[in-house]
Symmetry: C2
Subunit: 565 residues, 2 copies
């Protein structure tokens, strides 16, 4: 029996590889194994044909492969019940066929121009072959030894994003961009890891070495608190802040209650007076503010906090100022609208996801640091990699082994360019404004939050109900609102199930509605292929669905009658 899988003459050249299990002879199996590692998929194999279809017509592939009408999850789960890794290998072609039917058919058409409820969008075609190149190269960005040119490339991407935010001089970048043991940012899988990284650094800088105390990184939070004499730590953010910040405080040892959600004003921006009041209260209780976080593009309403005012406050408190621009950060690519994020350049760190409005596939998060030595606070080394003085990226990141996703961001920045992004971003914002006008002009819809970027919320309220609401008492209004909430839920769910279009929903407590709990439709208009017609159709479909609600719609009409009487 040979020691290694070695090249034996192939019996069926070009055929899809299979490990021959019927015979269970080591040699036969080894031959088949050798083949899957050395013989490419034949051009006429099932998988190759699927791939050609994707290459030649991704939109068509998605449209035709994904079934429109939703199958209930429990039915889909029936195809994923086996808990034992199969003993016998499977033909690649059989596997591909099975996955087309079981997986692809029941995945979500995130690229569809009528699916406007997600932050995902259509992707530019060129990212597909580049992704394959990335996988084929299989670099590991944790260290230069396994990534070489990918390391300078990633550093350049971080430098470009840093410049987009902070706009430092050329000398700054020539000094720091490729400097060992410095980092203009960290590339990671997504905004959550980016936010955690930023707060990890903030925490470790605040509670750093001091006299006998060797710093929180070495001694831990408990001893740090005793050394510094604080009774608690706090992070402040608007009530619209992303849930990942709660995870961040938990994982960092602060506790979710130490993330203080400050109420927002009528525009879903953090109420600065309230934030200042809370800060004073915390200080009186000897609780140290670790960071104030500005949200630049809230997930639910798309609004941007007053970043300059937050920067002022952070300066006064001598705490970290972090901006979560995971979604809205791409707006900086628009000369026309980047002023909306004015003040972001004063942040110590900024989170931006390229897989949101930068049209890069999933898995491309980033955080940039104003100060290139920020990440010293979390630096780590090991014997076999990340040696001191090396340029290994892994010595200053939360993640270890990671793929070369930065290449796809690099590609989009070069191929789309500032000019291209200018158009994409501007059109998105203008499309949202158009949709807002459409909703306001429609007598059966109500705009709940205006689009500051390309995200807005609204709900369906039949014209008769709108009239009736004017006459209703506060109690009646509450009852009607509950019914409207049920109706919104019903419409959103049914629309999703019908599979033609998709809007998402969330729960808000808008100031202009006396902070009544309200379920609303939420749309993100980032997909460049979404047209005006599609927006019209989506509203049309929603009015039709509303009337199909046998539970809620009649009850609403009942109220209208009663209030009219």
């Amino acid at each position: 029996m040979p020691f290694f899988v070695a090249p034996l003459p192939a019996k069926e050249p070009g055929s899809t590889s299979r490990i021959d299990v019927s015979k269970r002879q080591a040699t036969a199996s080894e031959e088949a194994l050798w083949r899957i590692f050395t013989v490419p998929e034949a051009p006429d194999s099932t998988l190759s044909k699927i791939e050609q279809n994707i290459s030649q017509n991704l939109a068509g592939f998605l449209r035709e492969s994904i079934v429109a009408v939703e199958k209930p999850l429990w039915q889909i789960e029936r195809d994923f019940q086996d808990f034992q890794i199969p003993l016998a290998p499977q033909f690649v072609s059989d596997y591909a066929d099975a996955m087309m039917e079981k997986l692809v058919a029941h995945s979500v058409h995130t690229a569809s121009p009528s699916f406007i409820g997600h932050m995902t969008s259509a992707l530019p075609y060129f990212v597909l072959p580049l992704s394959k190149m990335m996988v084929g190269l299989n670099q590991n960005l944790v260290k230069i030894e396994t990534s070489k040119a990918f390391t300078p490339l990633e550093r350049q991407v971080l430098g470009m994003m840093h410049h987009l935010v902070y706009q430092q001089e050329a000398g700054f970048y020539s000094k720091w961009m490729h400097s060992a043991n410095h980092a203009l940012g960290a590339f990671c899988s997504g905004g959550t890891i980016a936010n955690i990284s930023a707060l990890w650094i903030a925490r470790n800088r605040l509670l750093g070495p001091d006299g006998d105390f060797r710093g929180i990184a070495r001694e831990g939070l408990f001893r740090a608190m005793k050394h510094y004499g604080y009774d608690g730590l706090a992070v402040l953010i608007s009530e619209r802040g992303h849930y990942s910040l709660g995870k961040a405080t938990d994982v960092l040892g602060l506790g979710r209650d130490d993330l203080i959600a400050v109420k927002t004003d009528g525009n879903n921006k953090v109420d600065m007076a309230e934030m200042r009041r809370i800060c004073a209260e915390l200080q009186a209780k000897n609780i140290r503010v670790l960071a104030v976080i500005g949200v630049a593009g809230t997930t639910e309403t798309g609004n941007i906090d007053p970043l300059h005012q937050l920067a002022d406050l952070a300066q006064e408190l001598q705490c970290c100022f972090h901006v979560d621009a995971a979604w809205g950060g791409a707006t900086l690519l628009s000369e026309k609208y980047r002023h909306l994020l004015s003040g972001i350049e004063r942040a110590d760190s900024v989170t931006i996801d390229a897989h949101k409005q930068m049209y890069v596939p999933m898995g491309a998060g980033m955080v940039v640091f104003k100060d290139p030595s920020s990440a010293h606070a979390i630096e780590h080394h090991a014997e076999y990699i990340l040696r001191k003085g090396s340029k290994d990226l892994g010595s200053q990141t939360l993640e270890g082994s990671r793929p070369g996703m930065a290449m796809l961001v690099h590609a989009c920045l070069q191929v789309i360019g500032r000019d291209g992004y200018e158009i994409l971003i501007n059109r998105s914002l203008e499309k949202a404004r158009y949709f807002a006008e459409l909703i306001e002009a429609h007598n059966e819809f109500e705009l709940i939050s205006e689009p500051e970027l390309c995200l807005l919320t609204y709900r369906y309220v039949p014209a008769e109900v709108q009239l009736a609401l004017q006459k209703a008492s506060p109690e009646q209004r509450e009852k009607i609102n509950e019914l409207l909430n049920s109706l919104t839920k019903f419409i959103q769910k049914r629309q999703r199930e019908q599979g033609k279009s998709f809007v998402s929903r969330t729960r808000l407590t808008p100031e202009q509605y006396q902070r009544q709990e309200m379920i609303v439709f939420r749309v993100v208009l980032a997909n460049p292929l979404t047209t005006r017609d599609i927006l019209h159709d989506i509203l049309q479909e929603q009015t039709e669905i509303a009337r199909q609600s046998r539970q809620v719609y009649p009850k609403l009409m009942q109220w209208v009658k009663e209030l009219a009487a």
Copy 2:
């Protein structure tokens, strides 16, 4: 000016997309933008040709595209100096050409059978088209709304990996695998996040709600310590433990000093007597042991800790028992060798990276949990997603938005199957044993650590030096050892630069060498395409390089003479 990027007649059908910047007319640019989102790369475009080359002959593509002789990093960096995002878009074909020359040519040939210093290996061909499908579908696994069938698929992969480790009955999996608010594990970008997730859960379970105390997740570590009355927390691991655990303790608020590195025995396995002694010491100091960690396949020597003994200790201490099998976990796929990891089934959580020995591309980490309700300790919800009772994966993971990498693990498990992995794993281990024999038989090499799995370390020691060492005094031995360390470094670096083959190096303090600090070559023999001949050639090349060292080799020979005199 139109509001949206809209379909205009294409002027050059099939040509590579470009945003026309020469004219800088909004309409012309919009047309070009529309095209990159709607018109596939033409089959005869540069990028398509590169892609076809990858599809038809990945090994050849890598061999021909990556230059063999290493270019210094500072030279590579010159191609990644621009810090401004370019204004003008670039032709896809121009970009592709530039990247072939600047990026691909200077990336690392991780798949090469003669690059045996990494944990990356050759990949099976079928993962390439599947990766492209994954990117094209662009699902986001954080929630069902953006992943649908990918969620049950990922749960199945975690179920299969859970079964591989814990081998529960069918009823267990039918009850828990697809249960809302339960998780048999968490899929993530890599082993670091997996280890952090495991310890995060352990920390939150140990310091959970208790009477008035609402638990560490809500109130934070500082109040938790005061409530429970501990003076400190500690995590114990062998000195061979992965550096990610230091990051984990830091990020979780414990401090790197609270990760206690316990010395290992002559086989690089943790010394249990020493661990027990330390635990007793900690208890006497009122320091609570949060977790003991077993390493199943150390990164530097590939050894496995005595898992049953660690499980016993954890049971006595009533603490978490976590196993970091990021690299070695794949050995469970071998019926022949899985006994080497015996005791792993007693762990509360186990980390396994599919992108290491499971032949999946970079970015596929996992942690499995013995108890399906473990992750309740880190559960989180939000209004618009991860609602309570949903099956959204994101409510129990550290990461938020993530790609559908689980699909590639699923594919490998089905297409390679247990039978295929049995061969792959067994051959790897046997190849390492063969290489160890080769080294031991060679009169110029010294095996430093025996391969327990497919990893071993060794160094180059000329025959004359081996003889001389026997006569040397401890001081002389130390001097010679220093020279040998320099020589190992020199050989490793030069071999890498020559680009024909690659071994890595690390620093050990082997017990059998009186814990003298020693630099060694480290090899991982996971690539199925690595042959005996390649192993012979690598040793041959190393002996040749050694003699080229003008600094060290003559000095060594000098010692030999002096000692002989």
